[in-house]
Symmetry: C2
Subunit: 387 residues, 2 copies
């Protein structure tokens, strides 16, 4: 057998769905997972249980892998460099991945290549925040003092964690308590959030998925609509080109998600980068010719990429969050009987309130119908809709 | 967690692809496999290595499973009855499955419910064959002695194995040497083979996929075209109704494939039955709203079934057989670069000449194009096309 072994660090749902997408390719998939109960560890044959923060564990795991890729961005950069020095291809590589690990590095790099971002500054204390705010003062949506301002720890945040929106210098003290560097950003006056998903291979081949609208609830992705409704064609093209340029300039290999603010005055600004399959690309499993997971696998193996075009006029993804009702399986009866076209994707996770435990995809020609079906199913699975 | 455990007996590619289809449902999948190298065992987490012909092994395996289903039809009927007596749901159940295990039982039952089959008779020796042939004599395509006649062992045949086409009473000796019962059938004058695939749940819900054309080469399925081109709508409906009726009358649970002869005089006759996902349904992975594998899982769990309708005007599946060239992975470069819409499904099997090691699916609006793409890819992977 000459089929390669793809080593995936991290046992979450992204690894689970990447494994699923890799099965048809006949590749071998090896998983480094924190516990045997992790989402991906439940469905993968070749699982190593260990701590990705430990270099020896990583090295043992990487032995026998043809390439290493990731379910998350938390592997220390120096460990990735050590693996590369051992001769193991790491994709995306540490020099790319650092931009998804460190928001300060990311902002500096995007500035350098001329990609529009919210105004921002690394700040050391509340005084810095006040000074930064003062410079922003008087914009629409801010007081004369420039507040509110967004503060983010440069590392470790996700799904709204590690992010604060502060209305005064007094409130700005909290983010500094952990002693990690903090990035201050203007609070962008946006009408919606978009995401541009692209995939790039070591060869430099790249494909762009249609730009999607991503709707957040309480800082967590709730709904993704593909393609983004009523998006000016030139702006969509600009967003795709921007994502492709970031992928190229940062030498990203694999999937890159560029989260964007669509501002009230019609601009697009980069919010965050993720270098792995991303929640804003889950719709591709049922809505695109090639899913983000299949293309991520193809990219890290330096195989030619698959067609990213949509298969339906509209595809909608809605996340399924844990509710008060732990038995999601019994909800299948209603959901599947109501909508025989519904696509359920569950992650094998125990239900905890607010935890992402799955998502649903729907597609069709009528956006209102497609949205209603996805929202109903997600709400019913969560237990917030009972009829 | 209330998610059920589906126990799959047999580690072949059908189990592999059923596991793949079960991952999004969040169910637990447990596999009984002959060896750890089997196609499905490579990609499933929870694998028991053992012999399905041993009742104790089956019983141990079934403990902790909510339902048992199958990758093949070879589990002894009495073992299935024993599992049922233990209280384990077996789907399809032994009373249904016997019709896919024993061609003599199948023919008798289809006769009884009035489903058209080739003329047939259980025969004990070459003399019986000659007498059967004489009754068929004078039809188009046969000599005055009624030969050729098709002889089949009633159990254990597949992919052309256990089947003989004999031209004389002298040639009819061979099939009897194994000492197993033999079924004699008229050699049907058919213009093509069709397959009607349906899925049925314990509740009695059933869905029918569009009838497909199945092209065999040397007795092995080579190409499947969905839907069957130029098939009279009334005949297609008749084939679907026939398959649904067989599923109901035989109390099939799960996927049922009904292989059909489309005769020169415009009739359809049942050739074989298979009660599991089937090669003639592999196109559904990329060509239908719900794949045969997903619907098989839903059926054995008594969940509402998914929509079986096609997503494309035409979908073509071509099997990838092993050739002289063992390195199929390197052929990915050409195949994927040539056709970014190509869907490759490999089974993780070592390449042996003539062995089914995977298949490809293509879809689109132009049948000639879709056929050419699938055939080129399968031929290139096999090594019979080199440019």
């Amino acid at each position: 057998m000459t089929f390669p072994v793809v080593g995936m660090v991290g046992g979450g749902q992204l690894a689970r769905m990447t494994h699923e997408a890799g099965i048809p390719l006949g590749i071998r998939f090896k998983l480094l997972s924190d516990t045997p109960q992790d989402s991906a560890a439940q469905v993968v044959s070749d699982v190593v249980i260990g701590d990705y923060r430990d270099l020896d564990t990583l090295r043992d795991f990487a032995r026998g892998c043809d390439v290493i890729t990731f379910d998350h961005e938390h592997v220390p950069t120096e460990h990735l460099r050590a693996l590369e020095a051992d001769g193991i291809p790491v994709r995306p590589g540490p020099d790319a991945l650092v931009h998804a690990q460190d928001k300060g590095v990311m902002r500096a790099r995007l500035d350098a290549i001329g990609v529009p971002c919210p105004r921002h500054r690394i700040v050391s204390d509340p005084g810095d925040v006040a000074a930064f705010a003062a410079e922003l003062g008087g914009r629409e949506g801010t007081g004369t003092d420039g507040f509110p301002v967004v503060l983010k720890t440069v590392r470790g945040g996700y799904d709204g964690k590690g992010v604060w929106v502060v209305d005064s210098v007094e409130e700005a003290a909290e983010p500094f308590r952990a002693g990690v560097p903090v990035l201050a950003e203007e609070k962008v006056d946006f009408v919606r959030e978009l995401a541009a998903n692209v995939v790039r291979s070591p060869h430099g081949q790249a494909v762009a998925y249609p730009v999607v609208e991503s709707q957040q609830v309480n800082g967590v992705c709730d709904t993704v609509i593909a393609p983004a409704p009523d998006l000016d064609e030139a702006l969509a093209l600009k967003a795709e080109e921007m994502a492709l340029r970031i992928a190229k300039e940062l030498d990203v290999v694999g999937h890159l998600a560029v989260e964007l603010f669509h501002t009230r005055d019609g601009r697009i600004l980069v919010n965050e980068l993720a270098m792995r399959p991303h929640n804003s690309g889950h719709w591709t499993q049922d809505g695109a010719i090639t899913s983000q997971f299949a293309n991520h696998v193809r990219a890290v193996l330096d195989l030619p990429l698959g067609d990213p075009r949509p298969r339906a006029k509209w595809t909608v993804m809605v996340n399924v969050l844990g509710g008060d009702y732990p038995d999601m399986y019994s909800a299948y009866l209603h959901c599947m009987a109501r909508d025989p076209q519904l696509k359920i994707h569950m992650y094998g996770k125990d239900v905890k309130p607010g935890r992402k435990v799955g998502h649903v995809n729907t597609y069709g020609d009528d956006l209102d119908d497609v949205l209603e079906r996805a929202r109903h199913a997600a709400g019913y699975l969560r237990g917030t809709i009972t009829e």
